[in-house]
Symmetry: C2
Subunit: 235 residues, 2 copies
Amino acid sequence: MSLVSIMEKSTCSCENCQLRSLFFSHVSMDELNNICDIKIEKQYSKGESITNEGERIHEFLYMKEGLVKLSKTDIDGKDQILSFSKPFDFVSLLSVFSSDKYKYSVTAIEDTTVCILDLEVVKKFAQQNAMFTMDLMSSISEATDKILLDNLAIKRKHLKGRIAHVLLYFSDYIYKKDEFELPISRREIAEYIGMTTENVIRTLSEFRKDNIIKIFGKDILIADKKRLRSISEFG
Amino acid sequence: MSLVSIMEKSTCSCENCQLRSLFFSHVSMDELNNICDIKIEKQYSKGESITNEGERIHEFLYMKEGLVKLSKTDIDGKDQILSFSKPFDFVSLLSVFSSDKYKYSVTAIEDTTVCILDLEVVKKFAQQNAMFTMDLMSSISEATDKILLDNLAIKRKHLKGRIAHVLLYFSDYIYKKDEFELPISRREIAEYIGMTTENVIRTLSEFRKDNIIKIFGKDILIADKKRLRSISEFG
DNA sequence: CGCGGCTTTGATGTTCATCAAGTAAAGTGG
DNA sequence: CCACTTTACTTGATGAACATCAAAGCCGCG
């Protein structure tokens, strides 16, 4: 939070970047080097804001490492969390080709590295390289589809099912472990699932009493995943 | 519902089609004629299914006229409605470039005309025409963004606000009239806003008793739009 | 005509938000 | 570094919002 972000021109290492397959798979090495030259890598510490709802979009950016949340603030100042994203579920592109302003805020919930390209340059490039544009489109389409599906899944569940869903999301999808540190507060869980903070806490406590999970502050251990799954699917 | 769908090779009239601007604005007249030649127009009567969740995607399709719903059936057989779409908010493309199977079902809720192109042909075309692909991407991005925003808006409202939201949606956005025939059943409203059919009906009755709307079966007249707006925004 | 689906209303109970109050943890300024 | 302030977390009590169950009327359709 208090750490100063570090911005630096990266040494060009794009050709080995895992993200190449994301939408640079049909970009030649020459072209990639051109892109690489103008690329900036930027670090954000946990809690830092990456883009803000309403701000003008000047840059094309995608996550190299870390974890972020997508959120939107309503008139009363209350936040709603739309989704969480890790690299490959990149996300800051959401409005890039349909709006000139960000429709959502993106905030790091773990230390995050982002690659930044000038939007105009990328657009110009996209106009000349249809394969790149198609790969881009696939990625955007896949990412938003994931968000839509997730929101639908949450919508049809009750409080307990939603909490179970969130725990399984972080356990199965993000950390791939049964023990992990929750990267978000109880309030943020509430903002994500559309319930109150108090009820999020109550439900977590209930799961603890039923020996489904163990809680040490932000550290969560899933003790009975089978049961958690059945709660998530609702029964 | 019981009407037989009519499928016919259209006479080529694409050059005057209102939808040209959608993603054919950067397509030359020659290319457009090529597309036009392989295009099929298909009519669906109210209630007919256009695409089915889980089915393989063979075609690229977009709405020329009408109104459809996007929905998904969960394990218990319960439907959830994701959104409604009219031409320009086209929608069947949602999964087209990120999956080989439809993730949602599309059903006509008014008589609907759809233009159908072979997906492989469109993909090949997209690979050669980056501007077309970019226009396509903008359209997809805009359409899904609209769905996400709408779902977020509904999520933060209570029953009454959600019903008001739906009524205003059809009045302001779809029909641009204060009196209209609801194209969907009470149950479908419930499936859309994530509440029960009974409570949808109760709330509509309440609005009627408070002289906010008049109801004649499926015909709705909005008598006090100001009040409805304030309910939608919640107060 | 009768069946199934849609609509409507009422009664009842569950789920959840709200209010309140207190503890713990974490950031802030002198 | 300590007092101070704020933010996060937790639990309980209460009432409001909503789902569920039940029953009946309506309409279109085979």
